[in-house]
Symmetry: C2
Subunit: 339 residues, 2 copies
């Protein structure tokens, strides 16, 4: 396995993006987020996603030059048109606006319509937490998962993120609505392994832990069965209603490809408008302590708080370099004209 | 099975509450919510919960006379002390305040600290939707579920609710963080049945669909395994930080019993501040239509939107009467001095 330094990966991805026509400032931001995703172990939305994003720029599915424009300002709540710009720069802008409102008023909610795939949703939770804010955000997507009780796709696998800032390491939940991603199915199949738990249905309609069987039916399992299915529907509806944008059904009909014209919600809250730092530290530390002092299910097992393992991977990858698939790395270098 | 009319059930529960020392107005509201919960099929938090609530009033775990008092007003965000008052009246008050703020500004967030069990969380989602608002709310609880990777309890089974108003029937998701409630385990065991899907761990640490085995270990399964576990931690932390109240760990330490001193968050959004009614209707109807036109997994199977089955049960129970357990109904009548 090859490992690449953060700086080399970021510079290479940035060149790939500027070569594809993105202005430098935006290419720099997008390259940073893709690299940070790989650095934190979210390989599917990091380096591995660069080629597809460049393809989308080429097809015009993403407008590399577009900026969000304001459509409605209600004080604590603002609505922007993403103008089909890069999902990453739009999302960073929106979370920054939410943070600015929360700085003033305690609470800020910013919604985006007509934006594009934001890559790793957790990035915007980390963004809020880095600035000392509680962050909540989610996106809708095109349909890619059957609703509970259905065998054909109809709902989005809409990621939902919650983040709480903490000196010793932010607490960040970043979860999609399916139990496993297609990326996880593929990786597991290529290793000739089974999933840790059933992750979807086979041709006979039985739950299975065989990744290949699920890839064939495309019947991935919503997390918690009916719960994740219902949650996906609510996230979709609320993101469209709060932004004036397209629902999953609307995105499917518009057919712009690659989640084009999706909607996103960004909420930031300033905990220091409500409590002292001492109160906040105490509430968080007693919670982490209670988690950590649970009796592990397995001997010598560990109980992690949300985001803890990302941070562990981050430290490891910053020290040793970020692991890459050699083929993918070669392709991205080619896009960067570095071969 | 005996069926009781809504009005008779509500009047009886109200008498049980006034006999226990609650002022009439609060007893009326609480009786309505308990009755509506049973009417909608959430029997565990309806009539079946009346005796326990009366017990809590008697023990002083709930102050039947207390009103919420404001602690902080940040405009779109308000924080109240629930003063250990009835969870139901406190929650209704808080959601109404959130709605009033949303009426003005589009968005309202109200948090409660030092409140008590709100019974059926979905009630406050329905409340917002009835008034035409999008509602989001959640509560923390004492610890009653092992975190992912643990076999001892450490996290709350914190319910999370999202509601979207719709003329033909509101869309309401009301989900706890465990795959099944202890109530569901008990009911399934008493029928000598298995759970539809594994719902927890047995003594050997294996996932099982035997409800009795899970009741023994008390290792109920978080929905989506690590996902529901992480979500529970975030809901807990954010509710405490936004309200200045106790975390799950803090509630455990305070030991007030019955979720006393828990925290709750209520968010209301006025969709008409953002879009026209026509836009809203279209977004919702295309989403429901896409759900309903999915290919069912089972022949003649149906795909439901969140809240649809509650509404079906509601119509049935309003027509035929609300089914009751004869023993429980006799006990509540006794508390009402009606025997």
């Amino acid at each position: 396995m090859t490992r690449i330094s953060f700086d080399e990966m970021k510079a290479t991805i940035k060149l790939a993006f500027t070569n594809a026509g993105m202005p430098e400032e935006k290419a720099d931001i997008c390259a940073r987020i893709h690299t940070e995703s790989s650095r934190d172990g979210v390989y599917s939305h990091g380096l591995n996603r660069v080629e597809r994003f460049v393809d989308y720029l080429g097809k015009g599915w993403v407008d590399g030059n577009a900026e969000p424009t304001i459509e409605l300002n209600l004080g604590s709540m603002e609505i922007y048109n993403g103008n089909q710009g890069p999902g990453i720069t739009n999302a960073i802008f929106a979370m920054n606006r939410a943070i600015a409102n929360a700085e003033l008023n305690g609470l800020g909610l910013v919604s985006l319509n007509n934006t594009t795939h934001w890559m790793r949703g957790g990035a915007y939770g980390w963004q809020a937490a880095e600035k000392g804010f509680i962050g909540i955000c989610w996106t809708n997507t095109e349909s890619c998962m059957p609703a509970w009780g259905a065998k054909s796709g109809g709902i989005g696998n809409n990621p939902f993120i919650m983040a709480v800032p903490r000196k010793e390491g932010h607490i960040v939940l970043d979860m999609a609505m399916s139990q496993y991603s297609y990326g996880k199915l593929q990786v597991t199949r290529l290793k000739d392994q089974k999933l840790p738990f059933p992750g979807g249905f086979d041709q006979e309609g039985n739950l299975t832990d065989e990744p290949g069987a699920i890839e064939e039916t495309r019947r991935i399992l919503p997390m918690g069965f009916w719960k994740g299915s219902g949650f996906a529907v609510m996230l979709d509806l609320i993101s469209a209603l709060l932004s004036g944008g397209l629902t999953t059904a609307g995105i499917d009909k518009a057919g712009k490809g690659g989640c084009g014209s999706c909607c996103q919600i960004f909420i930031a809250i300033n905990p220091l408008k409500i409590n002292t730092q001492e109160f906040i530290d105490q509430a968080i530390s007693e919670t982490i302590q209670q988690l950590k002092s649970s009796v592990p299910a397995e001997e010598n097992g560990k109980i992690y708080y949300p985001g803890e393992q990302s941070l562990k991977t981050r430290h490891e990858n910053m020290e040793l370099g970020i692991p890459v698939d050699d083929g993918i790395w070669a392709n991205v270098k080619e896009l960067a004209n570095l071969t």
